[in-house]
C-alpha cells in the first residue's frame, strides 16, 4: 500500500511537471483519461486495494421515475459510481467520466468477466435539470449501441434527497456564482469516481489525474483475482468443516488479508466433550487402515489409553506448569496447530519446525520430521525435555513431579500391573493414547475400499487419477490394495529445507499487520528485528551422512485438509500452495529427490488434486475431537504445591 501511494505520488509529480512545461494554456490540457496511460501499470494482483470505508446508501430515481436505493442498484456487483450533471461542460469534469466509462463499457463487449461483474452508475447532482426522463435519454444510448455490460444513469427526487448522498461520498458541490452573486450555469466540484466492491466497500477513488479505464480495469482484475484466491481458502475451510464439525481452527488467519476478517476462535466453554471408546477404535481401525502395529511389551488397554489421555492434556508436565502436549497438537486443529507455521513452546520459545499431526502416528516407524525416533513410547520424551517445548530439565524431574501429583495416585500401578511412574510407563501411557488416534473411513476410503461410487466427487476421482498417474504423488504417499497410509515411512529432499538453509528469500515479504492491511517489508528490515532462523539440515542431523541433508519424512495425507500449514516448517499455508510447489518441481538442489520434477499440471488438474486430498478426512474425526474435549485438563489447583518452587501457588 505504501508502495502504491509512493507510486501515485510520483505519477502526480510527473503530471504536474508536464502541466508546467506546457503551461501556455493549461485550460485545454486534457486529462490522462482521454489518451493512453503515460506509465506502465503494475501487474494485476501485484498490489493491494484495501477497503477505504463503506459506500453509503441513498434514495435515487431510475429512468421511469421509480425510487430505488443505491444498494439495490449495486446489485451485488462491483460498481463504478460517478457523480455527473448533464449540463456539465468542463472538459476534464463530467465529460471525462463519460469518456472513461465509455471505454470501460466498450471493454465489456470483449470481456465477459468485466461485463458480468462490473456495473457503471452515473448519478446526477442536478435533480432540477436531470429528471428521470433525461436519465432515460442517456440510458437510451445503449439501446442503440452495445448492450454488453450495464451503465445506468440515475438522479434524485430533489436536492433534499441528494444532499445526504453527496455528503456521505464527500462530494462538495458548489453552485458557481458570478461576481454579481448571480447563480452561474455550472457547478464546481472535485471529480471523484468510486470503485465499490459487492460488500459495499470503497476500494479506490479516482480523481481527474487517475481516472483512466486501463487503471480501473487493472484494479478490478486485481480485486477479482484476490477475491478468487480467498474464495478458495474459504472454500477449503468450508470443506473441512463439512466433514468435521468440531475441527475448527482457533485463529488460523484464513482470509486475514481481508478487512472483513472475523476470527474463528471458539469459546472454550462451548467445547462439550463426549468420551469415546478409543480402545475399540484402535483395535478395529476404520475402513482404509490396516491393523495398528502394537509393541509386544505395550499392548493396548483402556487404562493405559485413559492415563495417556490424561497426561496428554496436563499442563503440569512442563517446567512451569503451563504447557501440555495438546497445546501444539491441538485436537480441533487436526492434532497439530493451524495457527503456527512453526511451533511455539513454553514461554514463547521458538521451535524450528511445524507440529506434526498425531492422527495415525501409530503406523509410523519414523517419528519427528527427521525420523530420529522410532516409536511413540520413546518419542514422548523428546518434547518433554526439549528446552523450547515443555522444557523439563530432566527425566527424573518429570517423574518426581508426576509421583507427587495427587490425581495420578494409583493410575500407573493400575495400568501397568503394579508398576509405578517410570520413564518407561509414562512413555507407554502417552504412546497408547496417541496410538489410538486412528482416523480413516473417509469419502476416498468408502469409494476405494467399499465400492461406493457416490462417495467421491467427480473432481476428486479425477484428482485420484492425477495423484496416482501424471503427478506421481503416490510414489511416496502410498495407497495399497486394501488399505492406504498415504506415506512411505521414508525421508525425502524436496528442496524446502535447502531453500531455508541457503537463505533464499524474496527481497520483500508481505506482512499483514491487521485485517485488510498488508505491507511489503524489506527482508533486510525483518532480519534486523526478527529472530535468527535456527539451522536445520534435516536427516543429516541424525545420520551425519552428507547425502541426507534436507531430507524430511513423508507425512501421511490422511486428514490433510485439517492439518494446515504444510511442510516440515509450515511454510505453505494451503493445499493449493503445496500442489503448486510440487508442480514447479520443488526447489532444485544437488540432493533433490529424483522423484520430484516439474509436473506441468493445468489449473483444473491442480484443483482436482486438492479436491482429492480434501476427500481424505476421516469420518471419526469429530468422535476423536469430542473425546479430547472430554479429557481433564491437568492444571495447578488451589493448595497445590508449585511444582517449581515447592511452595503454595496462587491459582491463575
Amino acid at each position: 500500500m505504501v508502495f502504491r501511494f509512493i507510486q501515485l505520488f510520483l505519477i502526480a509529480t510527473i503530471l504536474v511537471s508536464t502541466v508546467d512545461a506546457d503551461s501556455v494554456n493549461p485550460a485545454i490540457i486534457s486529462a490522462p483519461g482521454y489518451g493512453d496511460l503515460a506509465y506502465e501499470l503494475p501487474a494485476i494482483g501485484s498490489y493491494q486495494l484495501p477497503p477505504l470505508g463503506e459506500a453509503s446508501n441513498g434514495e435515487v430515481l431510475i429512468a421511469k421515475g421509480q425510487t430505488r436505493t443505491l444498494y439495490e442498484l449495486f446489485d451485488d456487483k462491483y460498481v463504478l459510481l460517478a457523480f455527473i450533471y448533464s449540463t456539465c461542460s468542463d472538459v476534464n469534469g463530467c465529460p471525462l467520466t463519460s469518456h472513461v466509462f465509455y471505454k470501460i463499457k466498450s471493454a465489456m463487449k470483449r470481456d465477459q468477466v468485466l461485463a458480468s461483474r462490473l456495473k457503471l452508475i452515473s448519478l446526477s447532482f442536478d435533480p432540477e435539470v436531470d429528471t428521470p426522463s433525461v436519465m432515460e435519454l442517456y440510458g437510451n444510448n445503449f439501446r442503440y449501441a452495445g448492450s454488453a455490460g450495464e451503465w445506468q444513469f440515475v438522479t434524485t427526487a430533489s436536492q433534499q434527497s441528494l444532499d445526504p448522498i453527496l455528503k456521505s461520498y464527500n462530494q462538495v458541490i458548489l453552485r458557481e456564482t458570478d461576481s454579481s452573486g448571480r447563480t452561474n450555469v455550472g457547478y464546481s466540484h472535485v471529480l471523484r469516481v468510486f470503485l465499490i466492491d459487492p460488500e459495499r466497500n470503497i476500494r479506490n477513488i479516482y480523481s481527474v489525474d487517475f481516472l483512466h479505464h486501463d487503471l480501473i480495469i487493472n484494479d478490478l482484475k486485481t480485486i477479482l483475482q484476490q477475491e478468487q484466491a480467498s474464495d478458495q481458502t474459504i472454500k477449503l475451510a468450508m470443506v473441512s468443516q463439512q466433514t468435521s464439525q468440531l475441527s475448527k481452527p482457533g485463529d488460523n488467519k484464513l482470509g486475514y488479508e481481508l478487512s472483513s476478517y472475523v476470527t474463528d476462535s471458539q469459546d472454550l466453554e462451548l467445547r462439550k466433550g463426549t468420551k469415546a471408546d478409543l480402545l475399540s477404535i484402535a483395535s478395529n481401525p476404520p475402513l482404509g487402515l490396516p491393523a495398528i502395529p502394537v509393541p509386544a511389551d505395550n499392548p493396548l488397554s483402556r487404562e493405559k489409553i485413559d492415563l495417556g489421555r490424561k497426561l496428554f492434556y496436563d499442563r503440569r508436565l512442563s517446567l512451569n506448569d503451563t504447557f501440555s502436549c495438546a497445546m501444539c497438537h491441538v485436537p480441533e486443529q487436526g492434532f497439530t496447530s493451524n495457527e503456527l507455521a512453526m511451533a511455539v513452546g513454553i514461554e514463547g520459545r521458538s521451535v524450528r519446525r511445524n507440529s506434526p499431526s498425531v492422527y495415525n502416528s501409530a503406523y509410523s516407524n519414523l517419528l519427528f520430521h527427521d525420523g530420529r525416533e522410532e516409536n511413540l513410547e520413546q518419542q514422548a520424551w523428546g518434547p518433554l525435555l526439549a528446552n523450547n517445548e515443555m522444557a523439563n530439565p530432566s527425566i527424573g524431574y518429570v517423574l518426581n513431579k508426576v509421583r507427587q501429583i495427587e490425581d495420578y495416585r494409583g493410575l500407573f500401578e493400575e495400568a501397568f500391573d503394579g508398576r509405578g511412574v517410570s520413564m518407561e510407563t509414562l512413555g507407554m501411557a502417552l504412546a497408547s493414547y496417541q496410538r489410538a488416534l486412528v482416523s480413516a473411513d473417509s469419502p476416498f476410503d468408502r469409494w476405494r475400499y467399499a465400492g461406493d461410487q457416490t462417495a467421491l466427487s467427480d473432481s476428486a476421482k479425477r484428482g485420484f487419477e492425477i495423484f496416482t498417474g501424471k503427478a506421481g504423488c503416490v510414489a511416496c504417499h502410498s495407497i495399497g490394495e486394501r488399505s492406504a497410509l498415504f506415506m512411505d515411512d521414508q525421508l525425502h529432499n524436496t528442496g524446502i529445507g535447502y531453500r531455508e538453509s541457503m537463505g533464499i528469500f524474496p527481497d520483500k515479504q508481505p506482512v499483514t499487520v491487521a485485517p485488510g492491511i498488508t505491507i511489503d517489508i524489506d527482508r533486510a528490515i525483518i532480519d534486523q528485528v526478527g529472530e535468527k532462523q535456527a539451522t536445520d539440515v534435516g536427516r543429516y542431523e541424525v545420520t551425519q551422512n552428507p547425502h541426507d541433508r534436507w531430507k524430511y519424512k513423508t507425512p501421511s495425507l490422511r486428514n490433510v485438509a485439517l492439518t494446515a500449514p504444510y511442510m516440515h516448517n509450515g511454510s505453505l499455508s494451503t493445499l493449493h500452495e503445496v500442489v503448486d510447489f510440487y508442480d514447479q518441481g520443488g526447489v532444485p538442489n544437488e540432493l533433490l529427490d529424483p522423484l520430484i520434477r516439474p509436473l506441468g499440471l493445468s489449473s483444473q488438474e491442480k484443483s482436482d488434486l486438492v479436491d482429492f486430498m480434501q476427500s481424505l478426512t476421516g469420518s471419526n474425526v469429530d468422535t476423536l475431537v469430542a473425546d479430547a474435549f472430554d479429557a481433564p485438563v491437568g492444571d495447578v489447583g488451589e493448595g497445590d504445591p508449585s511444582w517449581v518452587h515447592g511452595s503454595e501457588v496462587e491459582v491463575r
Binding site: I84, T87, V91, P95, Y138, A145, G186
Partner: protein, 188 residues
C-alpha cells in the same frame, strides 16, 4: 356569489395553479421549435420528419467544444455516407447577436453540408435551449467581448420528431456512430 362559492373558486384556482406549476417542473424534454436557418429561411424542426436529427448547441466563436462536436458530426456523416440522406445535423447558436445566418452559413460549411446552422431572436433561442434543458451563460471578458459557457450534449431526434437519446459530451465519435447506426437500422 356566496361566501362558500368564493372559497370553492379559490380552492379551484389554487388547484389549477399548482397543477400547472407541477407540470412545468416535469415538462418533457425536447419538442418542436421554429428558428431561422443559415439561409435566412424559417425553419421548423417538424419539417425534418422522416430524418434522424442530430441536434447540438453552441456558438461560432466557441474555441473548443463546438468545433469538436461539429467535427464529430462530420465524421458521422462521412462514416454513414450511404445513409446520409436520412440524416440531418443541426447546430443551434446560443449567440444570436453575433451568429447571423451569414456567419453560421460560413461556419457550418467548414464541417459538412449536412449540417444546418440555426439562429433566431434571443427569446426564440432561449426558448429552444429551455426546451432541451441546455444551460448557457455569457462570460464577459476583461478586454471586452464575451464567451459563452454552455452544456454540450448531443440530442438525437427520431424520424417522428421525438427525442430518442441524449449523448453526453465526451463520448468518442465511434459511440455516436454506433448509436446513429443503431437508430437508423432499428426502431429509431
Amino acid at each position: 356569489m356566496t361566501q362558500s362559492d368564493k372559497k370553492l373558486w379559490l380552492v379551484l384556482l389554487f388547484t389549477l395553479l399548482s397543477v400547472t406549476m407541477a407540470s412545468a417542473a416535469t415538462d418533457e424534454i425536447g419538442g418542436d421549435f421554429t428558428l431561422t436557418d443559415h439561409n435566412n429561411d424559417t425553419f421548423r424542426l417538424s419539417q425534418l420528419q422522416g430524418k434522424l436529427v442530430m441536434l447540438s448547441f453552441g456558438y461560432t466563436y466557441c474555441p473548443d467544444i463546438c468545433p469538436t462536436e461539429l467535427a464529430k458530426l462530420a465524421v458521422v456523416f462521412d462514416t454513414l455516407k450511404a445513409q446520409s440522406d436520412r440524416l440531418q445535423g443541426l447546430f443551434v447558436s446560443l449567440d444570436p447577436d453575433r451568429d447571423t445566418p451569414a456567419v453560421l452559413s460560413d461556419y457550418v460549411g467548414y464541417f459538412n453540408s449536412g449540417i444546418v446552422g440555426l439562429t433566431g431572436t434571443e427569446t426564440a433561442v432561449d426558448e429552444v435551449a429551455r426546451q432541451y434543458r441546455v444551460k448557457y451563460q455569457r462570460n464577459h471578458k476583461d478586454g471586452g467581448g464575451y464567451s459563452i459557457d454552455h452544456s454540450a450534449n448531443l440530442y438525437l431526434i427520431d424520424r417522428k420528431g421525438a427525442l430518442a437519446a441524449v449523448i453526453p459530451y465526451g463520448m468518442p465519435v465511434e459511440h455516436i456512430v454506433d448509436v446513429v447506426r443503431g437508430m437508423l437500422s432499428g426502431d429509431g
